[in-house]
Each structure stands twice: as structure tokens, then as C-alpha cells.
């Protein structure tokens, strides 16, 4: 061993408290199987299990969201009878993690947001690949979905969301 040959047991450090003193070379290597090594290993195993649980849980959450979003897109297309690809999905307006989404898309063909848009508030369980539409509103072309831009609100989800 070359690099690991440290001046570990150097007399220079005798003045330090024992827990801070460098260990003799034989006890200092990476394969040291002392109590510290054992505790570290157990801690690492616990952290690994914790991270694995968090990862798998998040994967399940993402799969659930994807499943829901697929149903949302199908619902928007079914409701509007437009087979458009560019539909925006907003998960925050009706509450992040609430499972309620707002999907907006053009009412007539055109680039995304270029035409008048219809926004649908969608939530509930997936049945036959679709979810429930609980109302919505319209947006003028080139206008983001902010309360001031909404008009023609309809359904329970649209109540109180239009300025006039």
C-alpha cells in the first residue's frame, strides 16, 4: 500500500483527545471492521431502504398521475369533439395534488393558444378511460389562463371564476 501509508501514529498528535487522534495505520484502512464501520454500514442500509421506499412511492404517484392525465386528455377530446394534440394541462389552479385538473385547448384548428380556447375543469375517478367534466370557461386567443382573461364560465367549477 502506498498512498494509504499515513503518518497516522505520529507522536505530533498525542496532545489531542483520544477521539481526535489519528489511528495507527493498521486500524485506519477502509476495511476496518470496527464498531464505527458496523454502525456506518447499518446506517447506510437504513438510508438505502428509506430512499428505495421514497423512490417506489414516487414512481407509483407518477404512474397514477400519468394514468389520470391520459384520461383527462381523452375527456377533453371527447367533450369538445376535437382530436387535438396540443392541449395544456394545469394541475395548480384547482389545487396542487388535489387530483383536479384544468385542460385548455383551441376551439378551432390552429397553433397552441392562437385561437379562442376552451378550458375544462376535470376530476373524479377514471371510468371507461374518461373522467368527469365539472365546468369550465373560455379564453381569448394569446391569453394565459388567469382569472381576468376568463369568460363564458359554465358548470359548478366555473362559478365565480369569471370577472363578469
Amino acid at each position: 500500500m502506498n498512498e494509504a501509508s499515513l503518518p497516522a501514529a505520529d507522536a505530533r498528535w498525542r496532545w489531542l483527545p483520544a477521539w481526535l487522534r489519528p489511528l495507527p495505520e493498521a486500524r485506519a484502512g477502509g476495511r476496518e471492521k470496527g464498531r464505527a464501520w458496523l454502525i456506518e454500514t447499518w446506517l447506510l442500509v437504513l438510508v438505502a431502504v428509506f430512499l428505495a421506499v421514497a423512490t417506489v412511492n414516487d414512481l407509483g404517484r407518477e404512474v397514477d398521475i400519468n394514468h389520470r392525465l391520459v384520461a383527462d386528455l381523452a375527456t377533453w377530446r371527447h367533450y369538445t369533439h376535437h382530436d387535438y394534440v396540443n392541449i395544456s394541462i394545469d394541475q395548480e389552479t384547482l389545487g396542487l395534488d388535489s387530483g383536479r385538473e384544468v385542460l385548455c385547448g383551441n376551439t378551432i384548428p390552429g397553433a397552441p393558444g392562437e385561437k379562442t380556447q376552451i378550458c375544462l375543469a376535470i376530476w373524479g375517478p377514471v371510468r371507461d378511460g374518461l373522467r368527469g367534466v365539472h365546468g369550465g370557461w373560455y379564453l381569448p386567443p394569446y391569453h394565459p389562463d388567469t382569472p381576468a382573461n376568463r369568460y363564458g364560465c359554465f358548470g359548478p367549477a366555473g362559478q365565480g371564476r369569471c370577472p363578469r
Binding site: 500500500m1 494509504a4 505520529d10 454500514t41 421514497a54 414516487d58 391520459v70
Partner: protein, 471 residues
């Protein structure tokens, strides 16, 4: 006397070796096939996994007899299947290469009698993977276009990339390729990297892109060569070390595929480790002060590319307990700061501000986000950033104490880099590559196991589009 005693190998052992060789070949073919699939589909153009970019690899999918391109654009599904296949094959290869504990010198001698994976074979496989990805398009990330934008900003437009985001050069041909999240963001990379990228700016976007890809390829080759050298210097199996790093799917597809400058940072890191691990000169009694100073200077050079690698410095200094690495680091810092200041002003050397800014970002793949979701929170809050920083500081302090007490500084540095990526709220695939070359040149195998486990969790987390595809 038994056959073994005569130096002959028992029949069962010969059969086992043949099976191992056949299996290794099959696994290597899976790795190569997956890389080829990703590159060929990726060469067809912009998709969910392929950022918008100049058509640099269209020739790969144009039939030699002419006509329309063949294949399908790279979607989530194909990419994830390729990633999973690569990961499985890689895991199998690592197990085969490391079978019977080939980590140690004893097992290396045993392996030399019946190598399932020879050195030549491993080098050929790793080289093939690197070249396949090099020939293809930029994969997954738009970062390389930010690098080019910063270079063009300085050279072609006379602007300071430490003060402006790419939006400042919105008329430049590279601008449309820069990720929308980054158009307002000034460079977070060190001045040395920015200076290295400047000569590529006048080559145009395509020329600069190939230049960046070549830089990444050369940095990768250098990192692998140094990893081999360090493993040998420590009496570890260099073939296993080479395979673990060079055939790693995240290293190949994400790191090299995205031409990330993390590879250049890793090159400087391994240059520093290599200098520190160099064999003793007979009669001198230890590695020389010059080498130690040089190693510290390499770490500083790496930090002037990407600041993260600076974490190696205290471990290196504590392990030697001599003045040379401190002097080497100080000299390199002075030189780098002077050059950075002269070219970019004070902002060019304010790496702490850049780190703080990046530390505030949050990615969906970070463990912090996953843990927040586990506890029913919608995401990471400012207080979580503080908790994570505190946890990181505690881990680094513990590792410093262990290093002072004699624990291997290379392993400690690897743990620190792994801790940085795990506690970061902004986790990207190429960040969990940082500790990998260190993990294969240390005897503490827990580091390698932990690094590969973290990478495996990252891969698992990518699979949601496969389980519930969004149409």
C-alpha cells in the same frame, strides 16, 4: 497429486469459465444494441428524449441507397426499455467481472487463470459504447447548447456570460437550441471551463457542437485511463474498474450522450487522485511534495470547471497533513482567480453565488422531492433546503473526522460527492456519476455499492412513462 496441483484446471471450472465468457459476450451485445437503438432513433430528430438540435447525425439513418430515413423518433418508451436493458446487462457484467471477489489481488490472480472478461475485451466494449454515442445526436439534455451559447456570447458578441443569460443573444443561431428554463440564466460554470469553450465559438453551432462532443469523448477516455491506472496503483482489478465506469449506462447515455462538462471535471479529479496514488519513488520514502502540490492544483483546476469537485481538497489535505497540497491549492487558486478576474471580472470568480443559485433549483428526480411526496407534501419547501444543507454539512464533517483519523481520503471524497448528489434538490443523472471513478479505486466497497444503488433508484424512477404511457 490432484490435477489442480499440476496447474491444470478441473473440467467444471473450464465449463464455468466458458459459460461466463458466453454470458459476458451476450451482455455486451445487449449494451451495444441498446446504445445503437438509442442513437439511431435519436438521429431521426427532435423528440421527448432528443432536444432540438442541428442535424449532425442524420446520415446514420439515411439508407446508403437513398430514400427516406428509417426508424422511429426516440420516445420515452423505447428509451426507457433501452435504459433498463442496458442497466440489467451492465449489472450482469459487473457481477461477472467481479465474481469471486475479483476486487482483491488474490482473486485477480485467480481471474487471470480463467478470465471471463479480458482486458482487451473490456477496452473494446467500452470504446465501442463511447464511439457509438459520440457519433449520435445530443441525448436528453440541452446543456451543451448553453455551453455553446455562453462561449458565443463572449467571443462573437463581446458579452460577459457571467452577467447575461442566453436571452441576451436571442438573435444568435444557437439560441433556439438552448433549453427554455435556462435562457435567462448566466453561466454557473467555472472560468476555466468558459475559457476552454471559447476557441469553439467561432466554429459555428455545428462545429462547436462537434467540438464539445469531442471534448467530452477525450475527457471520458482520459478519465477511464486514469481510473485504470489508479486501480492498478492500489492493487485493484483495473478491468473491473474500467467496466464499472466506462460501460455504465448513465455514464454513456446521459454523461457522454449529453456531452456534459462533468466529464472534464471528472478528468481533473482523476488526474489529482492519480498523482496522489502514484507509486513511491525508491529511496525517496513517499510521494513527493511536488506531486501533492500538483494533485491539489488539479482539484482546483477541476473546481474552476465545475465547483463541486472542490470537495476533494480538504480530504486530500487532511490525509497528507503536510504543507505541499495547501501551497499547491493556494497557488492554483491565485492563478485561476487572477485569470478569471482578468477575463470576466469579479463575477467570473464568484463560484459561491453560482452554487447558491443552483442549489435553489428543484428537479422531479431528486430524492428530496421524492421524500417530500412520501410525507404528503407537494414538493420541496425552503426549510427543506436548509435541512438538507445541514445534513450535508454534518456528513462532510463526519467524513473529515474519519479522514483525519486515517480513513481513505479517496473513499471519503467519493462519499462526499455522493452525499452532495443525494441531498441536492436538483438531481440529474450526470451528477450521480461524480463518485463512480472514486468508488472503483477504493477498497471500501460500500461506496461502490451505494453509488450503484443510487443510480439504480434513479433508473427505476424514470420508468413511469413505461408503466402508464401518456399519449
Amino acid at each position: 497429486m490432484s490435477a489442480v496441483a499440476h496447474g491444470e484446471r478441473p473440467l467444471a471450472e473450464v465449463r464455468s469459465a466458458r459459460w461466463a465468457s458466453a454470458l459476458a459476450t451476450a451482455l455486451a451485445l445487449v449494451l451495444v444494441a441498446a446504445a445503437v437503438e438509442v442513437v439511431l432513433d435519436g438521429a431521426l430528430g427532435h423528440s421527448a428524449e432528443i432536444p432540438l438540435q442541428p442535424d449532425i447525425s442524420g446520415w446514420l439513418t439515411t439508407p446508403v441507397w437513398g430514400g427516406a430515413r428509417i426508424g422511429e423518433r426516440l420516445g420515452f418508451r423505447v428509451f426507457i426499455i433501452a435504459l433498463l436493458a442496458s442497466t440489467g446487462a451492465y449489472g450482469g457484467l459487473v457481477v461477472l467481472a467481479g465474481r469471486a471477489g475479483a476486487w482483491t489481488g488474490r482473486a485477480r490472480r485467480e481471474r487471470a487463470q480463467a478470465p471471463a472478461i479480458s482486458a482487451r475485451w473490456a477496452i473494446a466494449l467500452v470504446a465501442a459504447l463511447q464511439l457509438i454515442v459520440f457519433a449520435g445526436p445530443v441525448l436528453i439534455s440541452t446543456d451543451v447548447f448553453s455551453y455553446i451559447a455562453y462561449a458565443r456570447m463572449g467571443v462573437e458578441h463581446g458579452m460577459n456570460p457571467y452577467l447575461n443569460g442566453p436571452l441576451a443573444i436571442a438573435g444568435d443561431p444557437v439560441f433556439k437550441y438552448v433549453g427554455t428554463d435556462w435562457i435567462h440564466v448566466a453561466t454557473a460554470y467555472g472560468p476555466l471551463y468558459t475559457l476552454l469553450s471559447y476557441p469553439l465559438a467561432p466554429l459555428g453551432v455545428v462545429g462547436a457542437l462537434w467540438g464539445m462532443k469531442l471534448e467530452a469523448l477525450l475527457a471520458s477516455a482520459g478519465t477511464l485511463a486514469l481510473t485504470w491506472r489508479c486501480a492498478r496503483a492500489r492493487g485493484l482489478d483495473p478491468v473491473l474498474a474500467l467496466l464499472v465506469v466506462g460501460a455504465n449506462p448513465l455514464y454513456v447515455l446521459y454523461g457522454l450522450g449529453g456531452a456534459h462538462n462533468d466529464l472534464i471535471m471528472m478528468l481533473t479529479m482523476m488526474a489529482a487522485v492519480s498523482l496522489m496514488l502514484a507509486p513511491r519513488t525508491p529511496g525517496v520514502g513517499g510521494i513527493g511534495a511536488r506531486r501533492e502540490a500538483g494533485a491539489a492544483a488539479w482539484v482546483v483546476a477541476g473546481a474552476l470547471i465545475k465547483a463541486t469537485v472542490a470537495v476533494l481538497l480538504p480530504f486530500m489535505i487532511l490525509s497528507r497533513r503536510r504543507l505541499a497540497p495547501i501551497l499547491g491549492a493556494l497557488a492554483a487558486i491565485a492563478l485561476g482567480a487572477l485569470a478569471g478576474y482578468a477575463v470576466f471580472g469579479i463575477h467570473g470568480i464568484d463560484l459561491v453565488a453560482a452554487l447558491n443559485r443552483d442549489a435553489a433549483f428543484v428537479s422531479t428526480d431528486s430524492f428530496a422531492t421524492e421524500i417530500a411526496h412520501l410525507f404528503g407534501k407537494p414538493g420541496v419547501f425552503p426549510v427543506d433546503h436548509d435541512l438538507l444543507k445541514a445534513a450535508l454539512v454534518a456528513i462532510v464533517l463526519y467524513l473529515l473526522w474519519r479522514t483525519w483519523r486515517g480513513y481513505d481520503w479517496v473513499a471519503a471524497s467519493g462519499w462526499a460527492l455522493l452525499a452532495i448528489s443525494v441531498t441536492s434538490t436538483w438531481l440529474l443523472a450526470w451528477y450521480i456519476l461524480w463518485p463512480l471513478p472514486l468508488a472503483v479505486v477504493t477498497r471500501d466497497r460500500r461506496l461502490l455499492a451505494a453509488t450503484l444503488a443510487v443510480q439504480a433508484l434513479f433508473v427505476v424512477h424514470q420508468t413511469s412513462p413505461l408503466l402508464a404511457p401518456v399519449k
